[in-house]
């Protein structure tokens, strides 16, 4: 069983690594992602502060798209 899993993993690795995935969105089609409005974290100093507001007042933490952040007070 373990050998079969290993073989499948190796096959998958080979399929993705060696054959080379053809980029289906060409470089000249990516101008939208260079637009600042598509940036997930346009102003890090500002988003870090807001994450800090959340994490100081919520039980949850982590896995925030653009790193985490947080502190604050009672």
């Amino acid at each position: 069983m373990r050998a079969r899993v290993t073989a499948i993993l190796l096959l998958l690795a080979g399929a993705t690594g060696c054959s080379g995935v053809e980029p289906w969105v060409k470089p000249y089609e990516r101008q939208n992602f260079a637009d600042p409005i598509m940036s997930a974290d346009r102003d890090p100093v500002s988003s870090a502060y807001l994450n800090h507001v959340f994490e100081a007042r919520e039980g949850a933490r982590g896995a925030l798209g653009s790193h985490g952040g947080g502190c604050g007070c009672n």
């Binding site: 952040g69 604050g72 007070c73």
Partner: protein
């Protein structure tokens, strides 16, 4: 003191370069004024960030951040006295780009009169598959020292570790998606040395009394998020994010966020958004225990209670006209305002009066302001 509880994750937040394996972030400087006002607490102060590339391969950044706190929160007015304190934090980060791989290290120190926190982080991101995919991993380690005013002998350590995994993927010429997973572990003195829990006490005139809270000395949490950002045909963007969180204290939480970004001409970018957050209570949380020492672990921190919050956001960015200065390529002035409503399901407002355990449930509104100028050079 609670100001530094989550320093570990904050450590990398402002200074670390956004995960984009193939390109170092632009040289920029930001000067931000922040203000939080809600629930009897006002916190404001500056945050300064400077980032500079050199040799097109290396980048350094520094962040200086201050929280000036004036607190008369419900916890404080019911069991202690209003107070003022200040927390200062400094971070340094170094990024290196090697082909499509970016390495980042950062260190942070935070200090206030009864809490010191130090942390170090390492992050790595790699562009894959024709740069359509960015994979990132990260690790942080934090060393905190908890002290207590009025008790010179009180000195407790906290050890924190964070493990992160991120994936961002361009799916179509107008759509990108992101996935993030993070595990955080804490070990040490995790509660607030000043906070108390409430228990029924027939001998007290109020019908209840207080004793210090006791938390477990370990906590492990897992969080996973999925996000998407879509470019609309008329040059605007919508984005959404969902995060699920669970931890060994019994807290489960969901966060849902949506936003809309709309440029106006060449100089304005307007934003609007909504965020919803909901969590269940920690296993050892209670607003009112039925007797003293009712359990091994006891907490009455409203952050460990069952609650929901709603946040409405609005913001504007204005691109300033050129000053004709050679070293300044462009600059912006930005104003963001958020209004947050917190509604607690099992945390009661003891100042409202009534028989113990029947007081009205607590809730409050908070105003959050961010005003900043940014310059790119």
């Amino acid at each position: 003191m609670k100001a530094t509880r989550y320093l570990l994750v904050l450590a990398v937040a402002a200074v670390a370069a956004p995960a984009s394996g193939g390109v170092l972030p632009e040289d920029r400087a930001d000067v931000l004024y922040h203000r939080y006002d809600g629930g009897g607490v006002t916190i404001d102060g500056p945050s300064l960030l400077v980032r500079k590339k050199f040799a097109e391969k290396y980048s350094v950044s520094a962040n200086y951040y201050v929280d000036m706190v004036s607190s008369a929160s419900i916890d404080v007015v019911t069991t202690a006295s209003p107070y003022k304190e200040e927390r200062t934090q400094g971070s340094l980060a170094f990024d290196m780009l090697n082909d499509k791989t970016q390495y980042s290290v950062s260190v942070t120190n935070s200090d206030e009169n009864d809490y010191t926190a130090n942390s170090a982080s390492f992050d790595l991101s790699q562009d894959l598959f024709g740069d359509l995919t960015t994979l990132s991993i990260g690790f942080s380690r934090g060393w905190d020292e908890v002290r207590k005013r009025g008790d010179a002998n009180f000195n407790e350590p906290v050890d924190r570790r964070s493990y992160r995994l991120g994936l961002s993927q361009i799916l179509t010429p107008t759509l990108m998606m992101g996935f993030a997973f993070e595990t955080v572990t804490d070990e040490g003195f995790l509660n607030n040395p000043y906070r108390s829990v409430r228990y029924l006490d027939p001998d007290s005139p109020a019908g209840y009394a207080y004793q210090p809270e006791v938390y477990p000395r370990t906590r492990t949490s897992n969080a996973a998020s999925l996000s998407a950002r879509y470019f609309l045909p008329y040059r605007a963007a919508v984005h959404g994010e969902y995060r699920y969180f669970t931890d060994t204290w019994g807290i489960d939480a969901s966060t849902l966020q949506i936003g809309y970004t709309h440029p106006l001409g060449k100089q304005w970018i307007l934003e609007a958004g909504y965020r919803w957050y909901n969590q269940s209570a920690a296993d050892f949380y209670s607003d009112l225990f039925d007797r003293p020492d009712a359990q091994n672990f006891m907490g009455r921190d409203k952050e460990l209670s069952t609650f929901t919050s709603h946040m409405l956001s609005a913001g504007a960015t204005y691109e300033l006209p050129s000053f004709g200065w050679k070293f300044l390529r462009r600059s912006t002035v930005n104003l963001f305002y958020d209004r947050i409503r917190y509604e607690y399901d099992d945390f009661r407002d003891v100042t409202a009066g009534g028989a113990p355990g029947t007081e009205q449930l607590y809730g409050f509104d908070a105003d959050v302001l961010r005003l900043f100028v940014s310059g790119w050079f």
